[in-house]
């Protein structure tokens, strides 16, 4: 989650009373032309048949070439330490691949939930119903309808990665 405003999270910018602040969620943009996949020497990052950019922790060598190649800020995290959990299993879905020390993690659209016909967790938990998920090539889908009705933007399109995340504005 990024804060478009002050110099740190949850801060505004401007002079009172003309203050501005805006929240911006930024996860893996699931690009159609992902630079991380091209850069990964071990093919630990790859594109699934349905277009999801996956991260295989068992294959990842932790070189961070994907982090260098990705044009988006902080969507990938290098696990320098062994991930710690407050319970005896990873929080959230126990079906998720556990993260490993010395590898790079990123959003994979909750592929384990998609495989069960569910939506990603972030779609379910958003209290403001600000997030939508679906197949934009299906003209009857909610997301396809929203793209037709609303003004949209994608970040850093000039980088040529063709991000799959659209922001409704």
């Amino acid at each position: 989650m990024l804060t478009y405003g002050g110099d740190s999270m949850d801060t505004t910018y401007g002079t009172f009373p003309n203050l501005e602040m805006q929240f911006l969620t930024l996860n893996c943009q699931q690009c159609e032309n992902p630079s991380c996949v091209k850069a990964c020497p071990a093919e630990a990052t790859y594109v699934r048949e349905d277009g999801i950019v996956m991260q295989n922790y068992d294959d990842c060598i932790g070189c961070r070439a994907c982090i260098m190649a990705c044009p988006y800020s902080n969507v990938r995290t290098y696990n320098d330490e062994k991930p710690e959990y407050y319970s005896t299993y990873p929080l959230g879905d126990s079906g998720i691949d556990p993260q490993q020390k010395g590898t790079v993690s990123k959003c994979t659209f909750c592929h384990h939930r998609i495989d069960q016909g569910l939506e990603p967790n972030c779609i379910d938990v958003c209290p403001a119903k600000a997030r939508f998920f679906g197949d934009i090539e299906d003209s009857d889908s909610e997301v396809a309808q929203l793209l037709k009705k609303r003004k949209v933007m994608r970040f850093l399109e000039d980088k040529g990665t063709a991000p799959s995340i659209y922001y409704l504005i």
Binding site: P41, S73, Y78, G102, F155
Partner: protein, 291 residues
Amino acid sequence: MLRKEWSLIANSILVQLSVGLVLFFAIYRTFMAGNLDFDANRRLAVFAMFFAGPVVIAGMLISLFHLGNPLRAPSAIKNIRSSWLSREVVLTSAYCALWLVTFLVESGDGNSTFLSWITALVGVVAVLSMANIYYATGRPGWTDLNTFTSFFGSVVIFGIVSSFLIFLSSGSVEPLVTKILNMLGYLFIAILFLRFVQQWPLFSRLKQDKGRHISNMVSASSENEANIKQYKSLTMLGLGCSGLGVLFAMLVLITANSEPWAALIPIAALLVIAGEVLGRSGFYALGLSDR
């Protein structure tokens, strides 16, 4: 900020040092073998050809420390199709193997000139792959001609440093060798000058509009003020060190390698190596952060 990247700095410097040694060995063997005395030829073989191998192997081993899972390192060659890092690993490994063959031929009193050129060429292509790892990221500080000047400049600079060490270590210097070392000294100065003048357009691009735009916020480019400052200071310090080193070396030449000036040669070499390490540290400061 650079504590995690010491292995990348050391790896790139050592590989480029090795390729510089082999490249200059190939050049001298091709164009100067008949003009060098037995002692100089022997020093050339031992110093340039012998050290090149252990240096590049040390560089490759050190690079393992950069990996989160070093035991999975062999997987790094799986994506030659698109990954410059995969290509670099394969090419550097091929360079190592070719070095060994060339060294064995040289040690057996065979003619290793042709093999040394092949080895040097593969080494140069390995350095090109290494540079493209960073150039291809699209980060403003790395997607710049400066990346190639930095990497290939190091190859040539290390070749020049090795030339001074090899040919000035015996004491007296033949006129032809003095002439060549003079030319190499000027070449060194030209490389430093090129690196220096390249900084201004790069500085100017890095300072461009850092205002409150969403694209600046979402962009992974970590060229914030701290990174840019660190890059500038390390780069200038590095250029200064290398400049001082080449001045010392030219002073030794001017005084015909006489005492006590001859003692400046190893100091000059150390200054140049320090300059290259500082410059490379600045390069990595520009694109990497602690995350």
